[in-house]
Protein backbone atom coordinates (compact mmCIF):
# COMPACT_ATOMS: atom_id res chain seq x y z
CA UNK A 1 0.00 0.00 0.00
CA UNK A 2 2.95 2.24 0.68
CA UNK A 3 4.05 1.61 -2.89
CA UNK A 4 3.75 4.69 -5.05
CA UNK A 5 0.99 4.66 -7.60
CA UNK A 6 2.15 3.23 -10.90
CA UNK A 7 1.30 5.04 -14.12
CA UNK A 8 -1.96 4.12 -15.75
CA UNK A 9 -3.19 0.55 -15.35
CA UNK A 10 -5.04 0.57 -18.67
CA UNK A 11 -3.73 2.45 -21.69
CA UNK A 12 -5.74 4.15 -24.43
CA UNK A 13 -5.94 0.99 -26.53
CA UNK A 14 -7.52 -1.00 -23.70
CA UNK A 15 -4.33 -2.88 -22.86
CA UNK A 16 -3.61 -3.50 -19.17
CA UNK A 17 -0.30 -2.83 -17.42
CA UNK A 18 0.81 -6.47 -17.85
CA UNK A 19 -0.05 -6.52 -21.55
CA UNK A 20 -3.42 -8.26 -21.29
CA UNK A 21 -6.65 -7.30 -22.96
CA UNK A 22 -9.59 -6.35 -20.72
CA UNK A 23 -11.22 -9.79 -21.02
CA UNK A 24 -8.07 -11.88 -20.99
CA UNK A 25 -6.95 -14.34 -18.29
CA UNK A 26 -3.41 -14.53 -16.99
CA UNK A 27 -1.47 -17.54 -18.34
CA UNK A 28 -2.44 -20.64 -16.36
CA UNK A 29 -0.58 -23.91 -15.92
CA UNK A 30 -2.18 -26.78 -14.04
CA UNK A 31 -0.70 -30.03 -12.82
CA UNK A 32 -2.53 -32.91 -11.18
CA UNK A 33 -1.28 -35.55 -8.73
CA UNK A 34 2.07 -34.07 -7.77
CA UNK A 35 2.09 -34.95 -4.06
CA UNK A 36 2.60 -38.57 -3.03
CA UNK A 37 1.39 -38.33 0.54
CA UNK A 38 -1.96 -36.64 -0.09
CA UNK A 39 -4.86 -38.71 -1.49
CA UNK A 40 -5.27 -36.13 -4.24
CA UNK A 41 -3.30 -33.05 -5.18
CA UNK A 42 -2.90 -30.28 -7.75
CA UNK A 43 -0.71 -27.29 -8.46
CA UNK A 44 -1.66 -24.09 -10.23
CA UNK A 45 0.29 -21.16 -11.58
CA UNK A 46 -1.88 -18.25 -12.64
CA UNK A 47 0.23 -15.27 -13.54
CA UNK A 48 2.55 -14.92 -10.57
CA UNK A 49 0.30 -16.95 -8.27
CA UNK A 50 1.72 -20.30 -7.19
CA UNK A 51 -0.64 -22.47 -5.19
CA UNK A 52 -0.62 -26.09 -4.02
CA UNK A 53 -3.79 -27.94 -3.07
CA UNK A 54 -4.04 -31.30 -1.33
CA UNK A 55 -7.05 -33.43 -0.42
CA UNK A 56 -7.34 -36.15 2.23
CA UNK A 57 -10.23 -38.51 2.68
CA UNK A 58 -12.88 -39.60 3.10
CA UNK A 59 -11.47 -40.77 6.41
CA UNK A 60 -12.49 -41.10 10.04
CA UNK A 61 -13.25 -37.78 11.69
CA UNK A 62 -10.99 -36.35 14.36
CA UNK A 63 -12.17 -35.03 16.80
CA UNK A 64 -14.90 -37.66 16.79
CA UNK A 65 -17.78 -35.46 18.00
CA UNK A 66 -17.70 -33.52 14.72
CA UNK A 67 -18.77 -36.57 12.72
CA UNK A 68 -22.21 -36.31 11.15
CA UNK A 69 -24.48 -39.37 10.89
CA UNK A 70 -25.88 -38.48 7.46
CA UNK A 71 -22.98 -37.05 5.48
CA UNK A 72 -19.29 -36.41 5.28
CA UNK A 73 -17.75 -33.41 6.99
CA UNK A 74 -16.07 -31.14 4.47
CA UNK A 75 -13.23 -29.11 5.93
CA UNK A 76 -10.99 -26.59 4.28
CA UNK A 77 -7.85 -24.75 5.23
CA UNK A 78 -6.65 -21.88 3.10
CA UNK A 79 -3.22 -20.72 4.17
CA UNK A 80 -0.61 -18.31 2.87
CA UNK A 81 3.03 -19.21 3.36
CA UNK A 82 5.07 -16.55 5.21
CA UNK A 83 7.11 -15.97 2.04
CA UNK A 84 4.10 -15.68 -0.28
CA UNK A 85 3.86 -11.89 -0.01
CA UNK A 86 6.34 -9.01 -0.08
CA UNK A 87 6.43 -8.45 3.63
CA UNK A 88 6.70 -11.62 5.73
CA UNK A 89 3.28 -12.79 6.78
CA UNK A 90 2.82 -14.38 10.17
CA UNK A 91 2.18 -18.09 9.63
CA UNK A 92 -0.69 -18.08 12.14
CA UNK A 93 -4.08 -18.18 10.39
CA UNK A 94 -5.31 -14.62 10.11
CA UNK A 95 -8.90 -13.46 10.20
CA UNK A 96 -8.85 -13.15 6.42
CA UNK A 97 -7.57 -16.71 5.95
CA UNK A 98 -10.22 -18.14 8.27
CA UNK A 99 -12.95 -16.37 6.31
CA UNK A 100 -11.56 -17.54 2.98
CA UNK A 101 -11.34 -21.11 4.29
CA UNK A 102 -15.03 -20.91 5.09
CA UNK A 103 -16.15 -19.48 1.76
CA UNK A 104 -13.98 -21.93 -0.17
CA UNK A 105 -15.51 -24.82 1.76
CA UNK A 106 -18.95 -23.48 0.94
CA UNK A 107 -17.97 -23.22 -2.72
CA UNK A 108 -17.37 -27.00 -2.76
CA UNK A 109 -20.33 -28.11 -0.67
CA UNK A 110 -22.82 -28.10 -3.59
CA UNK A 111 -20.40 -30.07 -5.75
CA UNK A 112 -19.15 -32.90 -3.53
CA UNK A 113 -21.44 -35.88 -2.85
CA UNK A 114 -20.93 -35.68 0.92
CA UNK A 115 -24.06 -37.75 1.56
CA UNK A 116 -22.37 -40.88 0.14
CA UNK A 117 -19.91 -41.13 3.02
CA UNK A 118 -21.55 -40.60 6.42
CA UNK A 119 -19.35 -40.29 9.55
CA UNK A 120 -16.25 -39.36 7.58
CA UNK A 121 -14.37 -36.19 6.78
CA UNK A 122 -12.90 -34.82 3.57
CA UNK A 123 -10.10 -32.32 4.17
CA UNK A 124 -8.98 -29.76 1.62
CA UNK A 125 -5.69 -27.96 2.20
CA UNK A 126 -4.74 -24.97 0.07
CA UNK A 127 -1.27 -23.51 0.49
CA UNK A 128 -0.42 -20.26 -1.26
CA UNK A 129 3.30 -20.26 -2.07
CA UNK A 130 3.31 -16.98 -3.95
CA UNK A 131 0.42 -14.52 -4.10
CA UNK A 132 -0.43 -12.06 -6.82
CA UNK A 133 -4.14 -11.36 -6.44
CA UNK A 134 -7.02 -13.74 -7.00
CA UNK A 135 -5.57 -16.46 -4.78
CA UNK A 136 -8.94 -17.61 -3.51
CA UNK A 137 -10.10 -18.26 -7.05
CA UNK A 138 -6.88 -19.97 -8.13
CA UNK A 139 -7.04 -21.96 -4.88
CA UNK A 140 -10.55 -23.18 -5.69
CA UNK A 141 -9.50 -24.13 -9.22
CA UNK A 142 -6.60 -26.19 -7.87
CA UNK A 143 -8.56 -27.74 -4.98
CA UNK A 144 -11.25 -28.86 -7.40
CA UNK A 145 -8.65 -30.81 -9.39
CA UNK A 146 -7.21 -32.26 -6.18
CA UNK A 147 -10.70 -33.51 -5.20
CA UNK A 148 -11.15 -35.17 -8.59
CA UNK A 149 -7.66 -36.65 -8.31
CA UNK A 150 -8.51 -38.13 -4.91
CA UNK A 151 -11.41 -39.95 -6.58
CA UNK A 152 -14.06 -38.11 -4.60
CA UNK A 153 -17.35 -38.08 -6.54
CA UNK A 154 -18.44 -34.60 -7.62
CA UNK A 155 -21.40 -33.17 -9.49
CA UNK A 156 -19.07 -30.95 -11.48
CA UNK A 157 -15.61 -29.44 -11.32
CA UNK A 158 -15.63 -26.01 -9.71
CA UNK A 159 -13.82 -23.28 -11.63
CA UNK A 160 -13.21 -19.86 -10.17
CA UNK A 161 -12.25 -16.49 -11.54
CA UNK A 162 -12.63 -12.85 -10.56
CA UNK A 163 -13.82 -9.84 -12.49
CA UNK A 164 -13.32 -6.27 -11.36
CA UNK A 165 -13.46 -2.59 -12.15
CA UNK A 166 -10.21 -0.78 -12.77
CA UNK A 167 -10.01 2.87 -13.85
CA UNK A 168 -13.70 2.81 -14.70
CA UNK A 169 -13.57 -0.28 -16.90
CA UNK A 170 -14.56 -3.88 -16.25
CA UNK A 171 -11.69 -6.35 -16.43
CA UNK A 172 -11.31 -10.12 -16.11
CA UNK A 173 -8.94 -11.92 -13.70
CA UNK A 174 -7.85 -9.05 -11.46
CA UNK A 175 -4.15 -9.06 -10.53
CA UNK A 176 -2.79 -7.82 -7.20
CA UNK A 177 -1.96 -4.27 -8.35
CA UNK A 178 -5.29 -3.85 -10.11
CA UNK A 179 -7.08 -5.13 -7.02
CA UNK A 180 -5.34 -2.65 -4.74
CA UNK A 181 -5.74 0.39 -6.98
CA UNK A 182 -8.99 -0.58 -8.68
CA UNK A 183 -12.53 0.25 -7.68
CA UNK A 184 -14.07 -3.22 -7.31
CA UNK A 185 -13.39 -6.95 -7.29
CA UNK A 186 -15.99 -9.73 -7.85
CA UNK A 187 -14.71 -13.29 -7.26
CA UNK A 188 -16.98 -16.00 -8.68
CA UNK A 189 -16.83 -19.80 -8.39
CA UNK A 190 -18.92 -21.62 -10.96
CA UNK A 191 -19.92 -25.15 -12.01
CA UNK A 192 -20.09 -24.85 -15.81
CA UNK A 193 -22.01 -28.00 -16.70
CA UNK A 194 -24.69 -27.36 -14.13
CA UNK A 195 -24.64 -23.60 -14.72
CA UNK A 196 -24.50 -22.88 -10.98
CA UNK A 197 -22.58 -20.24 -9.07
CA UNK A 198 -21.16 -21.55 -5.78
CA UNK A 199 -19.26 -18.50 -4.59
CA UNK A 200 -20.01 -14.84 -5.17
CA UNK A 201 -18.37 -12.00 -3.33
CA UNK A 202 -17.86 -8.31 -4.00
CA UNK A 203 -15.43 -5.80 -2.64
CA UNK A 204 -15.79 -2.14 -3.69
CA UNK A 205 -18.50 -0.21 -5.47
CA UNK A 206 -20.38 -1.16 -8.64
CA UNK A 207 -23.73 -0.12 -10.07
CA UNK A 208 -26.21 -2.96 -10.41
CA UNK A 209 -25.67 -3.03 -14.21
CA UNK A 210 -21.93 -3.20 -13.77
CA UNK A 211 -22.33 -5.92 -11.18
CA UNK A 212 -24.32 -8.05 -13.60
CA UNK A 213 -21.78 -7.48 -16.35
CA UNK A 214 -18.96 -8.35 -13.98
CA UNK A 215 -20.62 -11.66 -13.09
CA UNK A 216 -21.08 -12.53 -16.75
CA UNK A 217 -17.47 -11.65 -17.45
CA UNK A 218 -16.24 -13.79 -14.55
CA UNK A 219 -18.43 -16.72 -15.65
CA UNK A 220 -16.89 -16.54 -19.13
CA UNK A 221 -13.47 -16.68 -17.48
CA UNK A 222 -14.54 -19.69 -15.40
CA UNK A 223 -15.60 -21.51 -18.57
CA UNK A 224 -12.15 -20.99 -20.08
CA UNK A 225 -10.52 -22.25 -16.89
CA UNK A 226 -12.85 -25.27 -16.87
CA UNK A 227 -11.46 -26.41 -20.22
CA UNK A 228 -7.92 -26.14 -18.85
CA UNK A 229 -8.94 -28.15 -15.77
CA UNK A 230 -10.37 -30.97 -17.88
CA UNK A 231 -7.24 -31.04 -19.98
CA UNK A 232 -5.01 -31.22 -16.89
CA UNK A 233 -7.03 -34.13 -15.43
CA UNK A 234 -6.87 -36.08 -18.66
CA UNK A 235 -3.20 -35.30 -19.33
CA UNK A 236 -2.11 -37.61 -16.51
CA UNK A 237 -3.67 -40.64 -18.20
CA UNK A 238 -3.15 -39.74 -21.83
CA UNK A 239 0.61 -39.63 -21.16
CA UNK A 240 0.61 -43.30 -20.21
CA UNK A 241 -1.35 -44.22 -23.30
CA UNK A 242 0.97 -42.36 -25.62
CA UNK A 243 4.08 -43.80 -24.01
CA UNK A 244 2.56 -47.21 -24.76
CA UNK A 245 2.05 -46.35 -28.40
CA UNK A 246 5.68 -45.29 -28.74
CA UNK A 247 6.79 -48.52 -27.11
CA UNK A 248 4.75 -50.50 -29.58
CA UNK A 249 6.23 -48.65 -32.51
CA UNK A 250 9.78 -49.29 -31.44
Amino acid sequence: MSKKKVKKLINGKGIRYDGRKLNELRPITLEVGILDNADGSAYIEQGKNKILAGVYGPKEVHPKHLAMPDRSLLRCRYHMAPFSVEERKSPAPSRREKELSKVIREAFEPSVFTEYYPRTSIDIVIEVLQADGGTRCAGITAASLALADAGIPMRDLVSACAAGKVEGRLVLDVADLEDKQGEADVPVAYMPNLNAITLLQMDGMLTSEEFEQAINLAVEGCKQIYELQKEALKAKYVEVKEAKKEDAEQ
Partner: protein, 238 residues
Protein backbone atom coordinates in the same frame (compact mmCIF):
# COMPACT_ATOMS: atom_id res chain seq x y z
CA UNK B 1 -31.77 -40.36 -26.72
CA UNK B 2 -28.28 -39.33 -27.60
CA UNK B 3 -25.03 -40.51 -26.06
CA UNK B 4 -22.24 -37.93 -26.09
CA UNK B 5 -19.17 -40.12 -25.74
CA UNK B 6 -17.80 -43.23 -27.37
CA UNK B 7 -17.08 -46.40 -25.43
CA UNK B 8 -13.90 -46.26 -23.34
CA UNK B 9 -13.47 -42.52 -23.76
CA UNK B 10 -11.89 -40.57 -20.90
CA UNK B 11 -14.31 -38.31 -18.99
CA UNK B 12 -14.01 -35.94 -16.02
CA UNK B 13 -16.53 -35.06 -13.29
CA UNK B 14 -19.45 -33.08 -14.65
CA UNK B 15 -19.22 -34.32 -18.22
CA UNK B 16 -22.66 -34.85 -19.76
CA UNK B 17 -22.78 -38.50 -20.80
CA UNK B 18 -26.31 -39.11 -22.04
CA UNK B 19 -29.86 -37.86 -22.01
CA UNK B 20 -33.29 -39.28 -21.25
CA UNK B 21 -33.74 -43.02 -21.74
CA UNK B 22 -30.55 -44.18 -20.05
CA UNK B 23 -29.96 -45.47 -16.54
CA UNK B 24 -27.28 -43.88 -14.40
CA UNK B 25 -24.80 -46.58 -13.32
CA UNK B 26 -21.64 -46.50 -11.28
CA UNK B 27 -19.88 -43.12 -10.87
CA UNK B 28 -22.65 -41.19 -12.60
CA UNK B 29 -25.70 -39.24 -11.47
CA UNK B 30 -28.94 -38.21 -13.10
CA UNK B 31 -30.48 -34.77 -12.85
CA UNK B 32 -33.36 -33.46 -14.95
CA UNK B 33 -33.09 -36.44 -17.30
CA UNK B 34 -29.41 -35.85 -17.93
CA UNK B 35 -26.63 -38.19 -16.85
CA UNK B 36 -23.28 -36.75 -15.74
CA UNK B 37 -20.00 -38.36 -14.67
CA UNK B 38 -18.87 -37.95 -11.06
CA UNK B 39 -15.31 -39.26 -11.34
CA UNK B 40 -12.39 -39.30 -13.75
CA UNK B 41 -12.69 -42.51 -15.72
CA UNK B 42 -13.68 -44.35 -18.88
CA UNK B 43 -17.31 -44.31 -20.00
CA UNK B 44 -19.01 -47.52 -20.89
CA UNK B 45 -22.55 -48.58 -21.62
CA UNK B 46 -24.36 -51.86 -21.66
CA UNK B 47 -27.82 -51.71 -23.19
CA UNK B 48 -29.38 -48.73 -21.43
CA UNK B 49 -27.04 -48.67 -18.48
CA UNK B 50 -24.29 -46.03 -18.54
CA UNK B 51 -21.39 -46.17 -16.12
CA UNK B 52 -17.89 -44.83 -15.61
CA UNK B 53 -14.95 -47.06 -14.72
CA UNK B 54 -13.03 -44.81 -12.33
CA UNK B 55 -9.29 -44.57 -12.86
CA UNK B 56 -8.49 -43.70 -9.26
CA UNK B 57 -10.57 -44.16 -6.18
CA UNK B 58 -10.55 -45.27 -2.56
CA UNK B 59 -12.08 -48.43 -1.14
CA UNK B 60 -15.65 -48.33 0.10
CA UNK B 61 -16.68 -51.48 2.02
CA UNK B 62 -19.35 -53.70 0.47
CA UNK B 63 -20.92 -56.84 1.92
CA UNK B 64 -19.35 -59.97 0.43
CA UNK B 65 -15.97 -58.43 -0.41
CA UNK B 66 -12.77 -60.20 0.54
CA UNK B 67 -10.33 -57.72 2.03
CA UNK B 68 -6.80 -57.71 3.39
CA UNK B 69 -6.32 -55.65 6.53
CA UNK B 70 -4.01 -54.93 9.41
CA UNK B 71 -4.87 -55.29 13.09
CA UNK B 72 -4.59 -51.83 14.64
CA UNK B 73 -6.18 -52.38 18.04
CA UNK B 74 -7.20 -55.20 20.34
CA UNK B 75 -10.42 -54.20 22.14
CA UNK B 76 -12.54 -55.92 24.76
CA UNK B 77 -14.71 -57.83 22.29
CA UNK B 78 -12.41 -58.30 19.32
CA UNK B 79 -10.02 -56.54 16.99
CA UNK B 80 -10.17 -53.28 15.04
CA UNK B 81 -8.87 -53.78 11.51
CA UNK B 82 -7.61 -51.17 9.09
CA UNK B 83 -8.96 -52.19 5.68
CA UNK B 84 -7.93 -48.99 3.84
CA UNK B 85 -11.52 -47.76 3.94
CA UNK B 86 -12.98 -44.59 5.48
CA UNK B 87 -14.18 -46.76 8.37
CA UNK B 88 -12.46 -49.14 10.78
CA UNK B 89 -13.63 -52.72 10.51
CA UNK B 90 -14.44 -54.92 13.49
CA UNK B 91 -13.53 -58.60 13.79
CA UNK B 92 -15.38 -60.16 16.71
CA UNK B 93 -13.65 -62.54 19.08
CA UNK B 94 -16.64 -64.91 18.95
CA UNK B 95 -16.18 -65.19 15.20
CA UNK B 96 -12.60 -66.37 15.58
CA UNK B 97 -13.29 -68.70 18.53
CA UNK B 98 -16.29 -70.34 16.85
CA UNK B 99 -18.00 -70.34 20.26
CA UNK B 100 -19.09 -67.66 22.67
CA UNK B 101 -16.32 -65.41 23.93
CA UNK B 102 -15.27 -65.61 27.61
CA UNK B 103 -13.35 -62.44 28.47
CA UNK B 104 -11.73 -63.93 31.59
CA UNK B 105 -10.33 -67.01 29.88
CA UNK B 106 -9.65 -66.05 26.27
CA UNK B 107 -6.51 -64.13 25.51
CA UNK B 108 -7.13 -62.06 22.38
CA UNK B 109 -3.57 -60.82 21.68
CA UNK B 110 -2.37 -64.43 21.52
CA UNK B 111 -4.67 -65.02 18.55
CA UNK B 112 -4.13 -61.79 16.63
CA UNK B 113 -1.95 -58.94 17.81
CA UNK B 114 -1.49 -55.38 16.60
CA UNK B 115 0.36 -55.40 13.29
CA UNK B 116 -0.87 -58.81 12.11
CA UNK B 117 -2.17 -59.04 8.56
CA UNK B 118 -5.42 -60.90 7.97
CA UNK B 119 -7.64 -61.83 5.05
CA UNK B 120 -11.33 -61.58 5.87
CA UNK B 121 -14.78 -61.29 4.34
CA UNK B 122 -17.17 -58.44 5.03
CA UNK B 123 -20.45 -59.77 6.44
CA UNK B 124 -22.21 -56.53 7.28
CA UNK B 125 -21.74 -52.88 6.41
CA UNK B 126 -24.22 -50.04 6.36
CA UNK B 127 -24.39 -46.27 6.79
CA UNK B 128 -24.66 -46.40 10.57
CA UNK B 129 -21.82 -48.74 11.49
CA UNK B 130 -18.39 -49.72 10.26
CA UNK B 131 -17.94 -53.03 8.43
CA UNK B 132 -18.05 -56.32 10.32
CA UNK B 133 -15.57 -59.02 9.30
CA UNK B 134 -15.46 -62.81 9.43
CA UNK B 135 -12.64 -65.30 8.96
CA UNK B 136 -14.87 -68.36 9.26
CA UNK B 137 -14.38 -69.52 5.72
CA UNK B 138 -11.64 -71.53 4.06
CA UNK B 139 -8.68 -69.45 2.91
CA UNK B 140 -9.29 -66.65 5.39
CA UNK B 141 -7.29 -65.73 8.48
CA UNK B 142 -3.82 -64.60 9.42
CA UNK B 143 -1.13 -64.22 6.76
CA UNK B 144 2.37 -65.16 7.88
CA UNK B 145 4.46 -64.99 4.73
CA UNK B 146 4.74 -63.03 1.49
CA UNK B 147 4.89 -59.40 0.50
CA UNK B 148 2.13 -56.82 0.52
CA UNK B 149 1.52 -54.31 -2.21
CA UNK B 150 -1.27 -51.89 -2.91
CA UNK B 151 -3.07 -50.63 -5.99
CA UNK B 152 -6.07 -48.36 -6.40
CA UNK B 153 -9.18 -50.52 -5.72
CA UNK B 154 -10.96 -49.65 -8.95
CA UNK B 155 -8.28 -51.52 -10.88
CA UNK B 156 -8.80 -54.81 -9.05
CA UNK B 157 -11.16 -56.15 -11.77
CA UNK B 158 -8.51 -55.33 -14.37
CA UNK B 159 -5.87 -57.14 -12.33
CA UNK B 160 -8.06 -60.23 -12.17
CA UNK B 161 -9.03 -59.97 -15.83
CA UNK B 162 -11.84 -61.70 -17.72
CA UNK B 163 -12.52 -64.97 -15.89
CA UNK B 164 -9.24 -64.48 -14.01
CA UNK B 165 -7.10 -64.47 -17.16
CA UNK B 166 -4.72 -61.75 -16.03
CA UNK B 167 -4.13 -63.01 -12.49
CA UNK B 168 -3.63 -66.60 -13.67
CA UNK B 169 -0.89 -65.43 -16.03
CA UNK B 170 0.96 -63.78 -13.15
CA UNK B 171 0.55 -66.89 -11.02
CA UNK B 172 1.70 -69.19 -13.81
CA UNK B 173 4.65 -67.14 -14.99
CA UNK B 174 6.08 -66.26 -11.59
CA UNK B 175 5.03 -69.32 -9.62
CA UNK B 176 3.71 -67.09 -6.84
CA UNK B 177 0.49 -67.35 -4.90
CA UNK B 178 -1.46 -64.10 -5.19
CA UNK B 179 -4.23 -63.12 -2.76
CA UNK B 180 -6.24 -60.14 -3.95
CA UNK B 181 -8.28 -58.03 -1.56
CA UNK B 182 -11.13 -55.97 -3.00
CA UNK B 183 -9.73 -53.06 -0.98
CA UNK B 184 -6.65 -52.85 -3.18
CA UNK B 185 -4.24 -54.72 -0.91
CA UNK B 186 -2.53 -57.69 -2.52
CA UNK B 187 -0.38 -60.38 -0.94
CA UNK B 188 2.19 -62.11 -3.09
CA UNK B 189 3.98 -65.13 -1.73
CA UNK B 190 6.39 -67.20 -3.76
CA UNK B 191 9.40 -69.48 -3.46
CA UNK B 192 11.94 -66.66 -3.56
CA UNK B 193 11.87 -62.88 -3.00
CA UNK B 194 12.91 -62.54 -6.64
CA UNK B 195 9.71 -64.22 -7.86
CA UNK B 196 7.69 -61.99 -5.57
CA UNK B 197 9.43 -58.89 -6.86
CA UNK B 198 8.60 -59.89 -10.42
CA UNK B 199 4.93 -60.46 -9.58
CA UNK B 200 4.70 -57.09 -7.81
CA UNK B 201 6.30 -55.40 -10.81
CA UNK B 202 3.70 -56.98 -13.08
CA UNK B 203 0.88 -55.88 -10.75
CA UNK B 204 2.06 -52.27 -10.82
CA UNK B 205 2.39 -52.35 -14.58
CA UNK B 206 -1.24 -53.43 -14.77
CA UNK B 207 -2.28 -50.62 -12.42
CA UNK B 208 -0.47 -47.98 -14.45
CA UNK B 209 -1.66 -49.15 -17.83
CA UNK B 210 -5.11 -50.39 -16.86
CA UNK B 211 -6.84 -48.14 -19.39
CA UNK B 212 -4.84 -49.40 -22.39
CA UNK B 213 -5.69 -52.47 -24.46
CA UNK B 214 -3.71 -55.64 -25.15
CA UNK B 215 -2.35 -55.57 -21.63
CA UNK B 216 -2.50 -59.29 -20.86
CA UNK B 217 -0.04 -60.13 -23.64
CA UNK B 218 2.30 -57.30 -22.70
CA UNK B 219 2.39 -58.39 -19.06
CA UNK B 220 3.16 -61.98 -19.99
CA UNK B 221 5.88 -60.79 -22.33
CA UNK B 222 7.39 -58.54 -19.68
CA UNK B 223 7.58 -61.33 -17.10
CA UNK B 224 9.18 -63.73 -19.57
CA UNK B 225 11.71 -61.13 -20.64
CA UNK B 226 12.64 -60.28 -17.05
CA UNK B 227 13.00 -63.97 -16.24
CA UNK B 228 15.26 -64.71 -19.20
CA UNK B 229 17.43 -61.69 -18.39
CA UNK B 230 17.75 -62.91 -14.85
CA UNK B 231 18.83 -66.35 -16.07
CA UNK B 232 21.45 -64.90 -18.38
CA UNK B 233 22.98 -62.89 -15.54
CA UNK B 234 23.07 -65.82 -13.14
CA UNK B 235 24.39 -68.08 -15.94
CA UNK B 236 27.37 -65.77 -16.46
CA UNK B 237 28.18 -65.73 -12.77
CA UNK B 238 28.51 -69.52 -12.62
Amino acid sequence: MPVFYERRQLVTPGDLLAENDYLAGENTFKENGKIYATRVGLVNYENRNIYVMALKSFYFPMVGDTVIGKVIDVSLIGWMIDVKAPYRALLRASDVLERSFRPQRDDLPSMFDVGDIIIANIVASDRTRGPLLTIREPGLGKITRGQITEITPTKIPRLIGKKGSMISIIKKETGCQVFVGQNGSIIVSGKSPEDERLAIMAIHKIEQEAHTSGLTDRVAEMIRKEKSEKKEVSGKNV
